[in-house]
Every structure is written in structure tokens, then in C-alpha cells.
């Protein structure tokens, strides 16, 4: 089962939920993998402290023009929608920061003057983390090189390495645009982490709209419960969105986080909350819309 953890904005506790879920599942003897798709600011490694055993560059294919062959016909510049290759006077210039690596120019060049060569835009790393009890958590993340603008190619590279089996927890980047969408695509379930404040609700509403457009029915985790008011609850109720868990507002969680510790190990009572969340996720299965309180769960309760 692949679960994507996302949020409308950063700092809501996405990484906390994702890393602790992966650790708790592993501690219960399950095959579990944590995947950090927040390639602009990957932070999961700070908490899981994995041993990295594989590291390789993520590349994008960039056009290289053989000037000896080029006839300056300008076809490549005409097909390129990103102004990454253009004919200026009688020379073809390429602007690699603008290139999306669609391959159009190489395909269209009538004299095959364009070849594509890989350019490094980020790094992909994988390894194994160990929980306090010694259980193994698979670890996978990507890091976008600073000054690179395009995160999706690195996210796609990370996603290609996701194992097919076991519990996979994908830590998605915040927001509602291309990077978040790319990270969530292909998941079985989506969890949105939010806070009970006006900012929290505003960003949650955007994230819900985005994942619903993609065909997901998300579940919500309310972090820092008690710090704000009940507007998130009321809204979720109105929209028929299940609240899967609540993590009480607790300064010691923030403190553990600040030290790079997993709250399941450092904060009393936290483990039980994450275990309960995992149980809810198992109970409701991988059906995208299933949330506690819907038909499936009530059926199960009746038969028990």
C-alpha cells in the first residue's frame, strides 16, 4: 500500500507523521519504506538517520548541437515551447535552465545535428534506517541541486525506485502545484496534514481540491490539535472528509523535532497515536475514499 502524506503548506507536521508512521510500521515487523519526495527541502533523513548505501545523479537529457552538421534551418527553435533552443542569426543557442527535456528538438532536426546528453540536476539516495528497537526502514530520497528550478524530474526519478510491496510512505512536498501533484500520483491513499487555524484550513481546502481533481478522496490528520479552534473539524464534517487522527498540541513534540528526534521515541503517548493512525489506515484498506465512519468500516464493525 502506498500512502502519500501531503499538505497545503509546509510546517504542518507532514514529515513528522510520515517518518513516525514508517518507523512504527517497521517496529511492528512490517516491510516499510519511507520516500522523501520533498526534493527541494528533504528533511526525513534528519529524523530517520539512514545509512545511505546508494547514491546516484539524477539527470535530464539536454540537447547538444553539432555545429558542423547544423544547417541553421531553425526547426528546433520552432518546436521548442520553452525558448530553450533558438536560432540567433545563423547559430543555434541552447539555454539549459529553460529546457524541459521533451526531446522535440532532437526529433525534429532534419539533419540529426542534435544529440541529447545527460545533465545532472539532483541526486537520488537510498539506504536503510533503523528504529530505536532495531527494525529496518527502507529509505529513499532525492535532492534537487541548488539553483535548479525544476523539481518534477527529480521526483520522478525517486518514484521510479519505489518498491512494489510493503507499506510505502511518500512524504510529498507542500503546496498544490506540479511537485505535489507529481509526488501524490500513483498513491493508493492520500493523507493531508493540517493545523486547526485559519491558515491551516485555507491551505487544507486548496489541497483537498487538488487531490480531488486527481481522483483521490483524502483523509485528514489534525496536528497541533487544541492550539486553535474547531473550524477545520466543522469544515471536514461539512465536506464529508474523515479525520483519521489528531495529534495534540505539545511543545515537547516541537522540541523533539528541533533536535531531530522521532517523537515516537521521545514523547510519551505519541507512539500510541501513530499506531492508532496506522490501524485506521489498515482497517480502511487501500480504497481511496474509505475513511472511518463510511460504509466499509461500519460493515466491519457489524460483523465483528
Amino acid at each position: 500500500m502506498r500512502i502519500a502524506i501531503a499538505s497545503g503548506k509546509g510546517g504542518t507536521g507532514k514529515t513528522t507523521i510520515a517518518t513516525n508512521l514508517a518507523a512504527v510500521a517497521a517496529a511492528a515487523g512490517r516491510r516499510s519504506t519511507y520516500v522523501d519526495c520533498d526534493v527541494e527541502e528533504p528533511n526525513g533523513h534528519i529524523f530517520l538517520k539512514p545509512e545511505i548505501d546508494r547514491s546516484e545523479p539524477v539527470t535530464m537529457l539536454m540537447p547538444v548541437v553539432d555545429e558542423a552538421l547544423c544547417t541553421a534551418c531553425g526547426e528546433c527553435g520552432r518546436i521548442c515551447r520553452f525558448k530553450a533552443i533558438t536560432l540567433i542569426l545563423d547559430r543555434v543557442l541552447t539555454f539549459h535552465e529553460l529546457c524541459h527535456a521533451c526531446g522535440g528538438c532532437a526529433l525534429v532536426c532534419p539533419v540529426r545535428a542534435i544529440t541529447e546528453r545527460p545533465r545532472e540536476v539532483g541526486v537520488l539516495e537510498s539506504g536503510t534506517a533503523r528504529t530505536a528497537g532495531g527494525a529496518e526502514v527502507g529509505f529513499l530520497h532525492g535532492t534537487l541541486n541548488v539553483k535548479e528550478a525544476m523539481a518534477p524530474p527529480v521526483i520522478r526519478a525517486v518514484k521510479r525506485e519505489i518498491p512494489a510491496d510493503g507499506l510505502v510512505i511518500v512524504d510529498a512536498p507542500p503546496g498544490a502545484s506540479c511537485s505535489m501533484v507529481e509526488s501524490v500520483r500513483g498513491a493508493d491513499r492520500v493523507i493531508l496534514v493540517t493545523e486547526p487555524t485559519p491558515f491551516g484550513l485555507n491551505d487544507l481546502a486548496i489541497a483537498v481540491e487538488t487531490v480531488r481533481t486527481m481522483g483521490f478522496e483524502p483523509g485528514v490528520v489534525v496536528n497541533r490539535d487544541g492550539a486553535g479552534d474547531d473550524r477545520v473539524d466543522r469544515w471536514c464534517d461539512e465536506k464529508g472528509i474523515g479525520i483519521l487522527a489528531r495529534i495534540p498540541d505539545d511543545r515537547t513534540v516541537a522540541e523533539a523535532y528541533s533536535r531531530g528526534e522521532l517523537p515516537v521515541d521521545a514523547v510519551p503517548g505519541f507512539r500510541a497515536r501513530i499506531e492508532a493512525l496506522l490501524a485506521v489506515l489498515d482497517e480502511t484498506g487501500s480504497a481511496p475514499g474509505a475513511a472511518p465512519g463510511d460504509d466499509r468500516t461500519s460493515d466491519a464493525e457489524v460483523t465483528e
Binding site: 523539481a151 507542500p174 502545484s177 500520483r185 491558515f199 485555507n202 487538488t210 481533481t213 479552534d229
Partner: protein, 311 residues
């Protein structure tokens, strides 16, 4: 006119709350919300929208099923996995069935969210069945807000090209400031280090990086500072909730000064920040708690430094 952009390595560090307080403390300013993915500034500044414009992020490809022969060339060429087969359909329906109905053709469709709009599929489609259509990626607004004009935007779900929208919002904010003779533009930047934040800071006069005293805060700060330096924008750092972890706060300040980035100040952890949000106000407007006091000090410092720059 000076443009200050408040950014953070990641979201949720209190960037927007601090910017809203700055807006309250400035005499008069133009504000711009460039966190277009998760715009929140309007929740505090109460903008009344005067002008709405739609924003086109670019084009997306669309297949006309009537013209598609099901050859699959588009799927082969698309490097973004945006094209997928819809499944077997009757060959007759696809335009060329054999009598027994044995041959079945596959129809194709394009996932607009995954499509990068490169047009390669359309260019090479032998049936000319693919059109490129303008995608409305979002809207942007010019408003009257509580402390002056405000420019903000709303990206449609999954909308592309937020970097372009960010540049547009900033340009408009500066134009309004020029026109109305307002000498301060306050920009709520985007988190991260990718295209939106690059668009948030290029050409700005000054960047304030809001960070938290956590290990991830230190990690992210390094990347943001490198970015600001690359784009040649002077930066300062403010440590929010600094008393959550004093050691990490000290480490951040040391890291910043070692990298030649001055520290604008520390802001204490204070429940009043959330209370202000709930009241739809900035923290300096609801009382004089620790955070309000600290934010005032940071603002004075930042303002002083920006004014010094002028001379």
C-alpha cells in the same frame, strides 16, 4: 522604492505572520503574496478585490477522439507519462474496423495535470488529432487591503508555472508602488528553493529568511542562503520560536554570521501568534506579548538596514 521579500527554507516557519506584522508596522506599503501555492496573507490583511485577471500557465495538449486513429505515437513520444491508453474500443468506432470486428484499436487520452505542454505529441501526430489549448492556471488580483494596496493570486489546483505567476504578482506590486508613490513593497515569498522562490527573489532589494531553531531549519537555511547569494540579493536571518531549542538557535545564528548573513533578531515562541491568526489580525495588533515585542524589534532592524542600503 524598496522591495523586501520574506522567505523561508520551508513553509510553516511563521513567514506570513511576520510579514503581516511588518505590513501593520510600516507606514504605508504595497503587499504582494507570492506564496501562490498556499496564499494566506489575505486572511490577515482583508483585501477588497478591485481587479481580477486570469493567468495562463501555458498550453496543454488535448486529443480529439474523432480524429485519433489510435496509432499510439503520442504515448511513445511523451516523456512525461501524460498520455495513456483508454483501453480497447471497437475498431469500427475508431474509424477502420475489419468485418469480423477482430481488430480493436486503442484510444488515447492526455492527463492535463501531467502534461508539460511541450507539444511534441501534437507535432508528430500523424492524424493531426492533437490540439494545444491554453490552460487557465489561476487568477491574480489587485486589492485594497488594510495597510495599502495588495496584489495576490490563486493558482488552480495542480496549476503549472507558479514561477511565472510569482513574477507577475511582484511586477504588478512594484508598478502600483511606483504609481502611488509608496516606498515599500513587502513580498510574502514562496518556500523551497525551486522555480517559485527563484522568481520570488530575483531582482529584489532585500531578503529576510525566517527560520526555526531545528536541525531541518539549519539544513534548509544553508540552501536558501546559497540561493540568495547566487542571485545576488542581500539577506538577513530571523530565528522564529527561538526558545524552542536555544542550542539550535545559537547554531543558526553562528552559521548565518559565518556565511556573512546578518541576524535581524529572534522571536520568542508565543501562543499569541495563533490567537492573532484566529482573530484575523497580525500579532502586533492584538497585544504586546513576547512575539509582538520581538517582531517590532526585527522590523526596526530590517528597516534600518534597508534604509542604509540606499546611501
Amino acid at each position: 522604492m524598496k522591495e523586501l521579500v520574506v522567505i523561508s527554507g520551508k513553509g510553516g516557519t511563521g513567514k506570513t505572520s511576520i510579514l503581516a506584522a511588518f505590513a501593520a508596522l510600516a507606514d504605508r506599503c504595497v503587499t504582494a503574496d507570492c506564496d501562490v501555492d498556499a496564499a494566506d496573507l489575505h486572511l490577515v490583511l482583508d483585501p477588497r478585490v478591485k481587479r481580477t485577471e486570469s493567468f495562463s500557465g501555458g498550453v496543454v495538449a488535448r486529443i480529439d477522439p474523432a480524429r485519433c486513429t489510435g496509432c499510439g505515437r503520442c504515448e511513445e513520444l511523451c516523456r512525461f507519462d501524460a498520455v495513456s491508453a483508454l483501453g480497447e474500443t471497437n475498431a469500427a468506432a475508431a474509424g477502420g474496423g475489419t468485418p469480423g470486428g477482430a481488430a480493436a484499436a486503442t484510444r488515447y487520452a492526455i492527463d492535463e495535470i501531467a502534461c508539460e505542454g511541450c507539444a511534441v505529441c501534437a507535432y508528430f501526430c500523424p492524424a493531426e488529432a492533437i490540439d494545444l489549448v491554453e490552460e487557465t492556471a489561476g487568477d491574480w488580483f489587485v486589492s485594497d487591503a488594510r495597510f495599502g494596496p495588495m496584489v495576490h493570486a490563486r493558482l488552480r489546483p495542480g496549476g503549472e508555472n507558479s514561477g511565472k505567476l510569482v513574477s507577475l504578482v511582484r511586477r504588478e506590486a512594484r508598478r502600483i508602488a511606483d504609481e502611488e508613490g509608496i516606498d515599500m513593497v513587502l513580498v510574502d515569498g514562496s518556500p523551497g528553493i525551486g522555480c517559485p522562490v527563484i522568481a520570488s527573489i530575483t531582482g529584489a532589494d532585500f531578503v529576510l529568511v525566517v527560520t526555526e531553531p531545528t536541525l531541518s531549519g539549519i539544513h534548509d537555511l544553508g540552501r536558501v542562503i546559497e540561493l540568495a547569494r547566487h542571485f545576488d540579493v542581500p539577506a538577513m536571518v530571523a530565528v522564529n520560536k527561538y526558545d524552542i531549542n536555544m542550542d539550535a538557535a545559537a547554531e543558526i545564528e553562528e552559521f548565518a554570521s559565518k556565511n556573512g548573513v546578518p541576524v535581524a533578531g529572534r522571536i520568542r515562541y508565543d501562543a499569541a501568534v495563533t490567537a492573532a491568526q484566529i482573530a484575523g489580525r497580525s500579532v502586533v495588533e492584538i497585544g504586546d506579548g513576547p512575539a509582538a515585542e520581538d517582531v517590532r524589534r526585527v522590523w526596526n532592524r530590517v528597516k534600518y538596514v534597508i534604509e542604509q542600503e540606499e546611501h
